[in-house]
Amino acid sequence: MQLTNRKKELDRKPMNFWERLYLPAILKGMAITFSHIFKKNPTINYPEEKRPFSAVFRGVQILNRDEEGRERCTACGLCAVACPAEAITMEAAERQSGEEHLYREEKYAAKYEINMLRCIFCGLCEEACPKDAIYLTQTFAKANYARKGFIYDKDDLLIPNPVTDPEGYNKAKGKIGKEIK
């Protein structure tokens, strides 16, 4: 049965004089390599140029804030439970009076860490979150010299405050909420 139409019958005939000269074949090969001079190369010069990601690209997580700049995360732990790689740890704390502008609800995450060496960027944390607090963005984890640097804490994960830094907020948020529901 023929699976593809690329099958070629092998020719076992002894080569004729023209073929044994090899020079025509070499010239043919050189013509092929020469033709590649005029081909566009597919290189993306990485730091200057970046490959466009697909709309559903799953990159590094961010911890989201609401419109008033309050953290949405309530440290319920559902993301940590959902995480198949067990990359997420957190410690919950109770919101004190006077902290209402910082945290949206009475309970918040005092410590929130994602181990980027464990994370498989599956997006289950995003699906599990009932508070819209964690999202996967269009960026990826930067290279680092030490393992320690790959454990992202709240400083690395929290999105910039939309009230004080709207530009940074929009940049970090990227396409979330616009093209992606």
Binding site: I26, G29, T33, F34, H36, I37, K39, K40, N41, N45
Partner: protein
């Protein structure tokens, strides 16, 4: 009484010329390394070096600096003096070839006719061959002194390959010499300027010469002495720092020089096609123009060398010997005899 009368003008003229030619060879070799990488990249749909300077133009400088900065390692088991002599010999012989090449038409400097040639010896081409043969010693000594089996195998391969291909090369050249009737490089070029390029009379001779030149320069498909995947780098495996740099450099200088020799012997040397240089006189710009014509021709050869390298895979050792002894040598002999007969009949 003046016992020793030295023409100081000639002394300085030659000194400047030697300096200029060596600088030229070095610069061309430097940028050959860049060109090799760039051409390889372009032929393989890649970008090539583009970080050092615009379009990576400073890459050779960066490479040279890197090689100078590297630690110099001399293996304890090697014989030290020979180990140092290897790259020296390779470099010296690579540069020596340039001495007899006529680089351009003679120019007029303050009323004196200065030929753009260091030494117009009457056995010019024989001298070139002599120097090329000595070039084997650079590889041989380097491979031997490394005290490493891979290096030794590479050195033996290199030596036997060069000796095998020198025969066919010499024979194909004899046909050229019969046409021009002289071993003197300037005469060979003059003869081509007057009667047309040798490539017209000796296409087969040129093909043989070209293939042998590839083999002499240890270029693909004849790069067995430095076969990366079987001998891991061959004869310069134990070399580091600028000693390695010298070997690599010498290879590129050899390549450039063989391009120049081929242009001189078969493509009219500095002859500008369809232009009569003799009518233009000895102005400096004519010299410069003819020199640049020679450069264009030889750099074209360097490009073809690289183009071949990134197209054809390496020969197996027995294939190499078969091609050299059973194909090229009889072909060169036949070419020589036919040329001899034709020259004899036409002269009668």
């Amino acid at each position: 009484m003046v016992l020793l009368q030295i023409d100081w003008f000639i002394f300085f003229e030659k000194l400047i010329l030697i300096g200029a030619i060596i600088t030229l060879a070095m610069v061309v070799a430097m940028y050959s390394t860049y060109a090799e990488r760039k051409i390889a990249a372009v032929l393989q749909d890649r970008t090539g070096p583009n970080r050092a300077g615009p379009f990576g133009i400073l890459q050779p400088m960066a490479d040279g600096l890197k090689l100078f900065m590297k630690e110099e390692i001399i293996p304890t088991f090697s014989s030290k003096s020979l180990f140092i002599m290897g790259p020296m010999l390779a470099m010296i012989t690579a540069l020596l070839t340039s001495a007899v090449i006529p680089w351009g038409t003679a120019i007029d400097v303050a009323g004196r006719i200065v030929p753009l040639q260091v030494a117009d010896v009457n056995i010019g081409i024989l001298y070139v061959f002599g120097v090329i043969s000595v070039g084997v010693y650079g590889i041989m000594i380097g491979g031997w002194a490394s005290n490493n089996k891979f290096s030794l195998i590479a050195a033996i391969r290199g030596a036997s390959q060069m000796i095998s291909y020198e025969l066919a090369m010499g024979l194909s050249l004899i046909a050229v010499l019969m046409i021009s009737g002289s071993l003197q490089m300037s005469v060979i070029v003059d003869q081509q300027v007057q009667h047309g390029w040798n490539i017209v009379y000796q296409p087969l001779g040129f093909l043989i010469f070209f293939i042998c030149a590839l083999a002499e320069c240890n270029r693909t498909p004849f790069d067995l002495p430095e076969a990366e995947n079987e001998l891991n780098f061959g004869y310069h495996q134990e070399y580091s720092s600028m000693k390695l740099g010298f070997y690599l450099f010498a290879e590129y200088i050899n390549m450039f020089m063989s391009g120049v020799v081929m242009a001189t012997l078969f493509f009219g040397g500095y002859d500008i096609p369809f232009v009569d240089e003799a009518a233009l006189g000895n102005a400096w710009w004519v010299g410069l123009l003819s020199f640049s014509v020679l450069m264009v021709k030889s750099i074209l050869f360097v490009f073809i060398f690289m183009w071949i390298r990134w197209t054809i895979p390496r020969f197996r050792y027995d294939q190499l010997m078969n091609l050299g002894w059973k194909k090229l040598l009889p072909l060169a002999l036949a070419n020589m005899i036919i040329t001899a007969v034709v020259v004899l009949l036409l002269n009668k």
